[in-house]
C-alpha cells in the first residue's frame, strides 16, 4: 500500500470511529433526556427509566413481528410506554417524594430488577429478534465510510426529537408552562400552571422518547434481551449529571461527548479499561473540573 493509501485508510478508520461515537451519542441522548426531565422536575434519579426503555424495545419488536410493520411497532411503543411512565410516577414516586432522594431511587431499582426479570420470564433469556421479512439490514456507502441505515435513522430521530423539544419548550404555551414549573414551581403555580399535570406530561414525554430509543437500539442490534436497558441506564445517569442535571441542551452535548470519548477511548486505552469504565473515567474527570456539569447551575 502506498503511503497516501495508508493515510486514507487511516483517515477512514477515524471517521468510522466518529460515526460510531455520534450514533451512540444520539442514542444515549434520546435515552437520557427523559431521565434529565424527571430529574429537573422532581430531583429523583429515575433508574427504572431503563425498564421503560426496555419495554419500548420489546413492544416495538413484538408488534413489528406480529403485524409485519416496524412503523406500527414504533407507534405501539410510543402509545404504551407513556402510560407505563405515568403509572410509575403515580404509584411509586408521588407517595415517596417527601422522603430523602435515596428512598425513591432504591424503589426505582427494585422496579427495574422486577421488570428485567419479568421480561426474562415472559420472553426468554435469549431475547427476541425481528423476523427476517420485517428486518432488512441496509448499509449505505458514504465516501468510503460504511453507514448502517439504522445508524442514520438514529441520528435523524435524535435531531428531530431535540429540535422538536426545543420548539415545544420555547414556542408553545404548554412548553413554556413546563419550563416555568421546572425552574420556579411556586411562581408557575401562581400563574395557573397545574404542577401535577406538568409532572404527568414529563413522564409521558420522557417515556415516549425512551421507547423510540429502545426501538432503534432493538433495530440496530436486531435483538431485544432482558439486559437491554442495564448498562444504558447507568450511563444515562452519568450523562444527565455531566449535562448539568435537568438540562436538555446539556444532555445532548454530554451524550455526544460521551459517545465520542467511548469510541476513541476503546482504541487508545482499551487495553487498560473496558468501555463502561472509560465512560465513567471521563465523567469523573469532567466533574472534577466542572462540578456543576456543562451547562447546569449549582444545585447542591
Amino acid at each position: 500500500m502506498s503511503s497516501a493509501q495508508l493515510l486514507r485508510s487511516e483517515a477512514v478508520y477515524y471517521v468510522d470511529l466518529a460515526v460510531t461515537g455520534i450514533t451512540f451519542g444520539c442514542m444515549y441522548a434520546m435515552m437520557a433526556v427523559g431521565l434529565a426531565l424527571v430529574y429537573g422536575l422532581l430531583r429523583i434519579l429515575h433508574i427504572a427509566h431503563a425498564a421503560v426503555f426496555a419495554l419500548g424495545a420489546y413492544v416495538t419488536v413484538l408488534v413489528a413481528n406480529a403485524t409485519g410493520s416496524v412503523a406500527l411497532g414504533f407507534v405501539a411503543a410510543i402509545l404504551v410506554t407513556p402510560l407505563f411512565g405515568m403509572t410509575i410516577y403515580r404509584l411509586l414516586y408521588e407517595p415517596l417524594l417527601k422522603y430523602r432522594p435515596d428512598v425513591p431511587m432504591i424503589a426505582s431499582v427494585g422496579l427495574l430488577v422486577l421488570m428485567q426479570d419479568a421480561f426474562r420470564i415472559g420472553f426468554g433469556e435469549q431475547g427476541v429478534t425481528f423476523h427476517r421479512d420485517v428486518y432488512d439490514l441496509m448499509t449505505v456507502d458514504l465516501l468510503g465510510v460504511t453507514v448502517n441505515a439504522v445508524q442514520i435513522a438514529i441520528v435523524i430521530a435524535a435531531a428531530v426529537i431535540f429540535l422538536g423539544l426545543h420548539l415545544f419548550t420555547t414556542r408553545t404555551r404548554i412548553g413554556v408552562a413546563w419550563r416555568a414549573t421546572v425552574s420556579r414551581p411556586k411562581i408557575a403555580a401562581s400563574f395557573g400552571v397545574d404542577p401535577i399535570q406538568v409532572r404527568y406530561l414529563n413522564f409521558a414525554l420522557g417515556s415516549a422518547l425512551a421507547a423510540i430509543a429502545g426501538g432503534l437500539v432493538a433495530l440496530l442490534n436486531n435483538l431485544v434481551d432482558p439486559s437491554i436497558g442495564y448498562v444504558v441506564s447507568y450511563k444515562a445517569l452519568a450523562i444527565i449529571v455531566l449535562g448539568g442535571l435537568g438540562s436538555v441542551r446539556g444532555t445532548l452535548i454530554a451524550s455526544l461527548v460521551l459517545g465520542l470519548v467511548e469510541a476513541y477511548g476503546t482504541i487508545f486505552i482499551g487495553q487498560w479499561l473496558d468501555r463502561d469504565a472509560i465512560a465513567f473515567l471521563a465523567l469523573i474527570a469532567l466533574l472534577m473540573v466542572r462540578p456543576q456539569g456543562f451547562t447546569g447551575v449549582r444545585t447542591a
Binding site: V103, V109, D117, D276, A277, I284, T299
Partner: protein
C-alpha cells in the same frame, strides 16, 4: 451446623460489616455512596495478593483495610468537590471504573479473577467465627461513633454543612474521616470474603452489589445501626428464603424491595419508632 448454614452465616456477617460501614458514610455523614463495592473489592484483591505473597492472615487483613481506606480517602476528596446526587453518580462511576480496571489487568487475573487464594487455616467454622467477631466489632464501633462527638459532627455535616460550619465543625475533615473509616471496614470485609471463598472475580464487586448495600441501609432506616443490621440480615436471607420460587427469584426480590420501600419509606427503624410511639399512647 451444615456447610450451607456456615456459608450463609458467613455471608451475613460480611454483609453486616458492609452495610454498617456504608451507613457511617451515607447514613451518619450524609454522603451518598453507590460505589461501596469498589472498596470491598479493593480490599479483597489486596488481601488475596498479600496472602499469596506473604502468607500471613493478619497482614492480609491489614492490607485489605489499608487499601480500602486509601481508595476511600481518594474518593472522599471528590466528595469535597461534588455533592448529593452528583456524588452519588460519581461513586457509581468509581465502581464501574474499579471493575472495568480489574477486568483488564492480567496481574489481577482479569475476567477470571484470582483463584487458589491460601486459606486462613481456621477452617470453615473458624472463618465464620472470625467474620462474626469483626462484624460485632464493626457494630460496636458504629454504636460508639454514633454517640461520640464525631457522630454528632457527622450528623451536623450530613444535615446542613453551612450550619455545621457555624458550629466550628470542619466539614471537609469529617467527610474524609467518614470515608476513611467506612471504606477501611469495607476493605476488611473484602479481606474476609477472600478467605471465605478463596476465589474472587470482578463480578463479585459490581455496581449491583453496591445498590444492594444501599438498599440495606435504606430498608434498615438511614442512620440507624440496629435497623441496618436487621436489614442486612433480612436482605441476605431473603433470596435463600425464596429459593422455592427459584425461577422467579429476582422477580420476587425486586417486587419485595419495591413493596418494603413503598410501605415503609422510613425503614425498619422508623417503623419500630412509630409502633413504640403508638404503644406508649394510652
Amino acid at each position: 451446623m451444615s456447610a450451607y448454614e456456615i456459608s450463609v452465616i458467613s455471608v451475613i456477617g460480611i454483609n453486616v460489616i458492609l452495610a454498617v460501614s456504608l451507613n457511617m458514610i451515607s447514613g451518619f455523614c450524609g454522603q451518598i455512596s453507590l460505589g461501596h463495592g469498589a472498596f470491598y473489592g479493593a480490599g479483597a484483591y489486596a488481601a488475596a495478593l498479600a496472602m499469596i505473597g506473604a502468607g500471613s492472615v493478619p497482614l492480609a487483613l491489614l492490607a485489605a483495610a489499608i487499601v480500602g481506606s486509601v481508595l476511600g480517602i481518594v474518593v472522599g476528596f471528590t466528595s469535597l468537590r461534588v455533592r448529593s446526587d452528583f456524588l452519588a453518580v460519581t461513586t457509581i462511576g468509581v465502581n464501574f471504573l474499579f471493575t472495568g480496571f480489574v477486568r483488564k489487568q492480567h496481574w489481577l487475573g482479569g475476567e477470571m479473577g484470582i483463584s487458589g487464594i491460601p486459606g486462613s487455616g481456621l477452617g470453615a467454622n473458624g472463618n465464620m467465627l472470625m467474620i462474626l467477631l469483626f462484624a460485632a466489632v464493626t457494630v460496636a464501633l458504629s454504636l460508639y461513633v454514633n454517640h461520640s462527638w464525631m457522630g454528632f459532627a457527622f450528623r451536623a455535616v450530613g444535615e446542613d454543612e453551612d450550619a455545621a460550619a457555624t458550629l466550628g465543625i470542619n466539614s471537609a475533615a469529617y467527610k474524609l474521616a467518614a470515608f476513611a473509616i467506612g471504606t477501611a471496614l469495607a476493605g476488611l470485609a473484602g479481606g474476609l470474603y477472600a478467605f471465605f471463598t478463596q476465589f474472587i472475580t470482578p463480578d463479585a464487586f459490581d455496581f449491583i452489589l453496591s445498590v444492594m448495600l444501599m438498599a440495606m441501609v435504606v430498608i434498615g432506616g438511614i442512620g440507624s445501626t440496629w435497623g441496618v443490621v436487621t436489614a442486612a440480615i433480612g436482605v441476605t436471607l431473603l433470596p435463600e428464603a425464596i429459593r422455592f420460587v427459584s425461577n422467579y427469584r429476582l422477580l420476587v426480590f425486586g417486587g419485595l424491595l419495591l413493596l418494603v420501600i413503598r410501605l415503609a419509606p422510613g425503614g425498619i427503624a422508623a417503623l419500630i419508632r412509630s409502633v413504640a410511639g403508638s404503644a406508649r399512647e394510652p
